[in-house]
């Protein structure tokens, strides 16, 4: 599995082959993904756009191992998710995937610090103060670490969620409408941070967005419609 990106021949971090996801059965079958083929190289920032219900989130869930494909293959860092059981996919998420959600999904009972270190704890490596300091400084969270989500603005909450996603150095960050609940200023800040993470740290990112402007932050934009990738534009 190899791909030429920016003139370099790189091993792919993510590849889907004829990926199908069908909900329901029989006459009630609803195909959310219909033979999706996607390739993402390490260090890429790929945006996925498309109308509501076109299968963007389903694609993100399947490539992140949260849901299992009905047909086809998902190769994530060389691991075939189709052959993995639930526990193996959970382990893969723990070690190789970082999620960022539209609704932030921070735990309300924990302050920002513990929301971030929770990922390290689940990862099993325990608290790494150097990594923690690097990430929180990078995302400008130093002064807000002792605050609970209810005491943070939307932009701050999303930065905490971003810190949580990258604290364990995942191979890929999957962001599902990360600016969907933010105002323009906070959206720009979060998108700039994503681009910074991508360019400075080489973090691979796949981001779903409705916003064409947000999509331009990626170096490639995939357009989806009716469960299929219909277009790919390189910026």
């Amino acid at each position: 599995m190899a791909k030429r990106c920016r003139g370099l021949r790189l091993e792919l971090i993510l590849k889907t082959e004829n990926l199908w996801k069908i909900y329901g059965s029989g006459k009630m079958e609803v195909p959310a993904l219909q033979g999706v083929n996607v390739e993402v190289a390490p260090g890429e920032f790929v945006s996925i756009m498309g109308p509501s219900g076109c299968g963007k989130s389903t694609l993100l869930h399947v490539i992140g191992g949260l849901a299992k494909a009905s047909r086809g293959r998902v190769l994530l860092d060389g691991n075939d998710l189709a052959t993995m059981n639930d526990a193996e996919r959970t382990s893969l998420r723990r070690h190789k995937v970082g999620f960022v959600f539209q609704k932030f999904n921070l735990l309300p009972t924990l302050d920002a610090r513990h929301n971030i270190t929770l990922a390290q704890h689940i990862h099993g490596n325990g608290y790494d103060p150097h990594r923690f300091e690097l990430v929180t400084n990078l995302l400008g969270l130093g002064a807000r670490l002792n605050h609970r989500p209810s005491e943070l603005s939307g932009g701050e909450q999303q930065r905490v969620a971003l810190a949580r996603a990258i604290i364990s150095e995942p191979k890929i960050v999957l962001a599902d409408e990360p600016t969907g609940n933010l105002d323009t200023k906070s959206s720009d800040a979060v998108l700039s941070l994503l681009r910074h993470l991508n360019r400075e740290l080489g973090q691979t990112i796949v981001m779903i967005t409705h916003n064409p402007e947000a999509a331009t932050y990626g170096n490639r934009v995939l357009h989806m419609r009716d469960g299929m990738v219909v277009d790919s534009v390189v910026h």
Binding site: A87, R93, R94, H95, V97, T109, R164
Partner: protein
């Protein structure tokens, strides 16, 4: 994370802990009161000062469960045996008027010979047919005084004296009176035998056994050890039922509490799973929270048990002080934690099996 989750809903946490505390208190107090009653009864019987107790064949160690099948004349034969210094026949009757008490019918002279006699706080010894002696515990609990009338066994007695507690029953009447009242003329429930020397007890028992084969002959020094819940018909079952009720309370409350917790935190569970938390990790969180609630409830329950013990003493002064032992505190803790964890099993299973995509979409 566990402690933050528990304190996030303080009212629910408080109610759950109180329920577990009640479970613990129920276990400790039921065991404590029944043990104390048994021990008190045993100590008072032992306090008679006899060396041997003679009862009819197959008689229970509890005097209240035995009728009056032995002729008093047996006492005369026992008195003639080698090593025997004194014999006191006693007829027992259970009084259920106003309160549940054992009434002992005694022959003052022989009872004094065996027990060394009563210590009188006030009044005098039994003389007349309607005289009754009460011990100081009974007198304090019922505010009974010398000279007053006391309605016992359907009969009005005159309180002749108040004596120090610890010599058998709390109420004593003349043996002849009780025989007449219960239609057991010349009969006795038990003979207390005093040996000339305490190291002659076994030898004296041999003599009694030769004289009265098949009769129940017990050395008093082992008497307390025979007073166990398993020797009281129904008591072990009562304890089991009460503990089962207590466990059921804890089980149901923990079940409800953790069930609502898991439902309420569905999205959080989805987040944990998206971060790569395994089923075991999720289960461990729920079970750890349950264990924390149970241990917290246990600590409160221990405090509550001591409070209830004080209240029982205030409300029912004639009852002995409930025995709160370390052994049963440990058992109560184990029962509370085990019941709680059992109650949390289904919610835990439910949490660990949640689909991450559905959980993340939960509103």
């Amino acid at each position: 994370m566990i402690s933050q989750n528990v304190t996030h809903r303080p009212v629910r946490t408080f109610v759950t802990m109180i329920a577990v505390a009640l479970e613990v208190t129920l276990v400790i107090i039921v065991i404590g009161v029944t043990s104390a009653l048994l021990m008190d009864s045993a100590k008072r019987t032992e306090g008679v000062g006899a060396d041997i107790m003679v009862q009819p064949p197959s008689a229970s160690v509890f005097l209240g469960f035995t009728g009056a099948p032995m002729p008093v004349a047996i006492g005369t034969k026992l008195q003639q045996l080698q090593y025997v210094q004194a014999v006191a026949p006693v007829l027992t009757q259970l009084n259920s008027v106003n309160s549940l008490e054992m009434v002992w019918g005694i022959d003052p002279a022989s009872f004094r010979a065996v027990s060394g006699g009563f210590v009188y706080y006030s009044g005098r010894a039994l003389q007349n047919a309607d005289d009754i002696l009460v011990d100081d515990v009974y007198a304090r609990a019922h505010k009974a005084r010398v000279g007053e009338m006391l309605h016992v066994l359907g009969h009005d007695f005159h309180i002749a004296g108040v004596v120090e507690h610890g010599k058998g029953a709390r109420l004593f009447v003349l043996l002849s009176t009780l025989q007449q009242m219960s239609g057991a003329t010349d009969k006795a429930t038990v003979f207390f035998v005093k040996c000339d020397r305490s190291d002659h007890t076994l030898a004296a028992m041999d003599k009694v056994n030769q004289l009265l084969p098949n009769y129940t002959v017990r050395p008093m020094k082992d008497y307390i050890q025979m007073f166990t819940a398993s020797n009281v018909p129904g008591l072990a079952a009562l304890r089991t039922v009460m503990i089962a009720i207590a466990v059921s309370i804890g089980f149901l409350v923990i079940f409800l509490s953790m069930y609502t917790t898991v439902n309420e935190r569905t999205r959080e569970i989805g987040v944990l799973k998206s971060l790569g938390a395994s089923k075991l990790y999720v289960a461990r969180i729920i079970l750890s929270e349950t264990a924390l609630l149970c241990v917290g409830g246990f600590v409160v329950g221990i405090g509550l048990s001591f409070l209830v013990r004080v209240l029982i003493r205030l409300l029912f002064p004639s009852l002995p002080q409930a025995l709160i032992t370390l052994e049963w505190c440990v058992y109560a803790c184990l029962i509370a934690v085990a019941g709680g964890l059992l109650g949390a099993l289904y919610p835990t299973w439910m949490a660990s099996r949640k689909d991450p995509v559905e959980a993340l979409a939960y509103e």
